[in-house]
Symmetry: C2
Subunit: 202 residues, 2 copies
């Protein structure tokens, strides 16, 4: 989103701009909590934050980007957890590590359903391509590809790791995940099992 980290260089972001950004995030969080991400419009956020709509749009060109900024810290944390897990289990077979990773990610995904749905939510501008490339999923992809490669090696197989990762990721996207949760009635644990059943050879 914004190229700088939380407390950015004074050279690159003016003080008032930074204050506005904080107010925007705070207002968005508040409105999201109260009304649900879906129900909140960019207009409402701007007016709650007491900035003009142009100011809001200059920072976040749609709700998706705003959600990504709101979830940023949690994403950092979950991937630190994943790194930890992978490090501490680097001796177990890759398929088991994949399972552990998915369990961690699904747990995170479950806790962050509203914001993740907001990220993938569609706005007129937001081309659908962006949904598969949002930060959390994009980062996950690299981990998956690496593990699938390892699995291929361990099992003398030659599946296309990138493709498998792509499919696994859309299976975890809001569209699919919430469909399984709400329409099919599966629990997060069910979904983990089903995915493992598909992506980890029996």
């Amino acid at each position: 989103m914004n190229p700088e980290t939380e407390t950015s260089y004074p050279r690159s972001e003016r003080r008032d701009a930074s204050e506005n950004r904080q107010r925007i995030l705070k207002a968005a969080q508040k409105l999201f909590d109260k009304n649900g991400v879906e129900q909140v419009s960019m207009n409402q956020i701007a007016s709650e934050a007491q900035v003009g709509s142009a100011t809001l749009y200059r920072r976040y060109s749609n709700k998706s980007e705003l959600c990504q900024d709101l979830i940023k810290d949690n994403v950092v944390t979950i991937f630190m957890d994943i790194d930890n897990y992978l490090e501490q289990n680097h001796t177990v077979p890759p398929s088991q590590r994949l399972r552990g990773l998915l369990s961690l990610f699904i747990n995170f995904r479950e806790k962050k359903i509203p914001l993740l749905a907001g990220i993938e939510e569609s706005s007129p501008s937001n081309s659908f391509r962006s949904r598969l490339s949002s930060t959390p999923f994009n980062e996950l992809r690299q981990y998956l590809v690496r593990l699938f490669d390892e699995i291929n090696e361990a099992e003398q197989a030659h599946f296309n790791s990138v493709f498998r990762a792509d499919i696994l990721i859309i299976a975890l996207s809001s569209d699919s995940y919430l469909f399984q949760r709400e329409v099919r009635g599966y629990s997060p644990e069910n979904i983990l099992e089903l995915i493992c059943g598909m992506f980890i050879s029996h």
Copy 2:
């Protein structure tokens, strides 16, 4: 969409209403061809069809429904082709029939990229759930489930057929399919191979 078939009972749709519906479909087709589905707004369609926007919305509450009506006949045709294929090959192993079915469907999918993208396109109202339940994909699902069941039986396996069908369908959704086509650079044939590699045991 509309509960009646093409030439519906005069009792249930007034003559003027029917004429308007035809004009809407014609106008939409024309604008879609000229400017691309994505670029055309409901307003433009209404004005090209010379009906008020309320009239348009009363028939098609969003572009997705309109696209579904425009593609309806092609959907009927492709599933007739699929039925034919399955009938004529009912003796070959189910995994091979699955492959044939996917080949037919991907071929259709490829020819109808714009309208299928339009169906899955998001409008403020159109809850994301509807994307996985649009007619063409919904119909495909039943075929997939049946074939997966057969494959399970033939191979003494116990995969969850419905889940596998769900995942296969989102892999064929515009989001995923166009990502593979445009970002990954795969051809329809490549995609068929990749999918078969994932869903048909080696």
